[in-house]
Amino acid sequence: MSFPAAPPEMSGIKLEEVLIDVVLRLITGARHVAVGANSPIPAAAAFLAQLLSPDGPNVSLQQSPEHNLWTDGGRELFDSAGQGRIDVFFFSGAQIDGGGNINLNAIGDYAHPKARFPGAYGSAYLYFMVPRIVLFRLEHSRRTLVEKVDFISAPGTSPPNVFRRGGPIALVTPLCHFGFDKERARFRLESIHPGHSLEEVLDNTGFAFDRPERVPETPAPSPETLRLLRQTVAPQLARIYPKFAESVFGIPVASAVA
């Protein structure tokens, strides 16, 4: 993946570090943050949250026994979420639409798809059960952020009679941070990352969204956050997300086989 170069006022700070900082603020106060497959930015934010506060959250990485608290197998995440014990989870989507619906399955006609992705993972359940779902998408384009998804792996909102304690609260992209208003079933632009403009967001977003008259700029991570991220969190991440750690923090991918 490639990103635009950092703007001058943030030179030396990588886009991923800004996104990690945005996610960090979204998970403030959570007791238990769970992270699924292929989520290096959320994982980094969760580890940071643990380091930054003595009351930091429990963090459970689904696929990494050294970084989770589970002792009852993969089902324990879903059982815990079903009971309301998990406060935050993260999803992405091949497509995300303006109603907060996410598509992790296929593009085109489902029976004869034009493109196919790994699958829905736990989304069709966790999207309902976890109070704070943070969506992230590292390609901000009209191809990915669409008016209506081709396939609803998990719906953004539900009719009032469907049991639902959670859903999307935000969407973080390389350009901006959207909040999600579940009553209106619409995204609202919260901030634009340094070096980017409202025009760029409008040009590259396929769905309509709400916005304040003046959209604030996303703040840069604090020096303390950056120091912890680079010195303490990055080596942890490298064991779980070797490709990400190589591209963002320059830690080489080594074969895990001795």
Partner: protein, 271 residues
């Protein structure tokens, strides 16, 4: 006959057309056994993954061994997508039962209990549900106006997985990989490969017994050191990331996939 066999002997319990259930990468994937099944030419499998899979489903699908797959995802996480799974779905060459992780847990758990179905929150409004005519929405009979999804139990013919240890009686120690209990309980029988044999009785000490699947669930155990390679095996060894990256690149084409099989699957590894 004892339960400890050689690999091919143990795998004879997995017949063409079987419903075979396998674990996700974090729980212990029997990759050496998967290569042996492909060498044997197994076919017509109904493959169920608890709840996801990577290289195991990829190789079986690419080798033409799978007729139907029931899964929540097949992919390599951040390393990339699964090229042979993707190609098979796009070509319509694979019957696909898309699920979501806790639905597979719930359906196998129903089988563990001997129940005809499990129930699951969520799902309503998802196209996953719309594509699954075998799943039903009912009104919760204990509440008013509370729709909930029922899922028929999944009762596999065989579970196949890799574990750290077994004793000579066929008791299998799995540590905290509790998904393997679900697989063993739900399936008619289990075939297990292990890193090593344990001299002694794993059920004799409560510390090991609590994490041991008793032999009565187990059809056969075959020792297969480093048997999850190139996937990870808990605390024992990590995934061979470079190998997986090389695989993903090679398997982008059918011809490259064949070359991978010729290099890594058809020749037996030295013991």
């Amino acid at each position: 006959m004892g339960k400890i066999r050689d690999l091919d002997g143990a795998l004879s319990a997995i017949t063409d057309g079987a419903t075979l259930v396998v674990p996700a990468d974090y729980a212990g994937v029997a990759m050496e056994a998967t290569r042996a099944l492909i060498r044997r030419g197994v076919k017509g499998l109904h493959l169920v993954t608890l709840p996801t899979s990577s290289l195991q489903a990829e190789l079986l699908i690419g080798a033409g061994a799978v007729e139907t797959i029931e899964t929540s995802a097949v992919g390599f996480g951040e390393l990339g997508s699964a090229p042979r799974f993707t190609a098979a779905v796009l070509a319509g060459a694979l019957k696909l039962k898309d699920a979501t992780c806790p639905a597979i847990h719930s359906a196998l758990r129903a089988a563990e209990m001997g129940n005809p179905f499990g129930a699951l929150r969520g799902l309503i409004g998802s196209d996953i549900l719309r594509q699954r005519p075998d799943w039903r929405v009912i009104d919760n009979p204990f509440a008013e106006n509370d729709p909930i999804v029922l899922l028929p139990a999944i009762r596999p013919d065989v579970a196949l997985f890799h574990a750290p240890l077994a004793d000579r009686n066929g008791n299998v120690w799995v540590g905290r990989r509790r998904d393997l209990f679900t697989l063993a309980h739900a399936s008619a029988l289990s075939v297990v490969t292990v890193e090593a044999l344990h001299e002694g009785d794993l059920l004799a000490d409560e510390v090991t017994a609590a994490a041991t699947i008793p032999a009565f669930y187990i059809e056969a155990v075959a020792p297969a050191p480093r048997g999850a390679w190139p996937l990870k095996m808990g605390d024992l060894y990590g995934e061979d990331t470079q190998h997986l990256l090389d695989y993903i690149r090679l398997a982008a084409s059918e011809e490259g996939f064949r070359r991978y099989l010729d290099t890594h699957v058809f020749p037996r590894r030295a013991a």
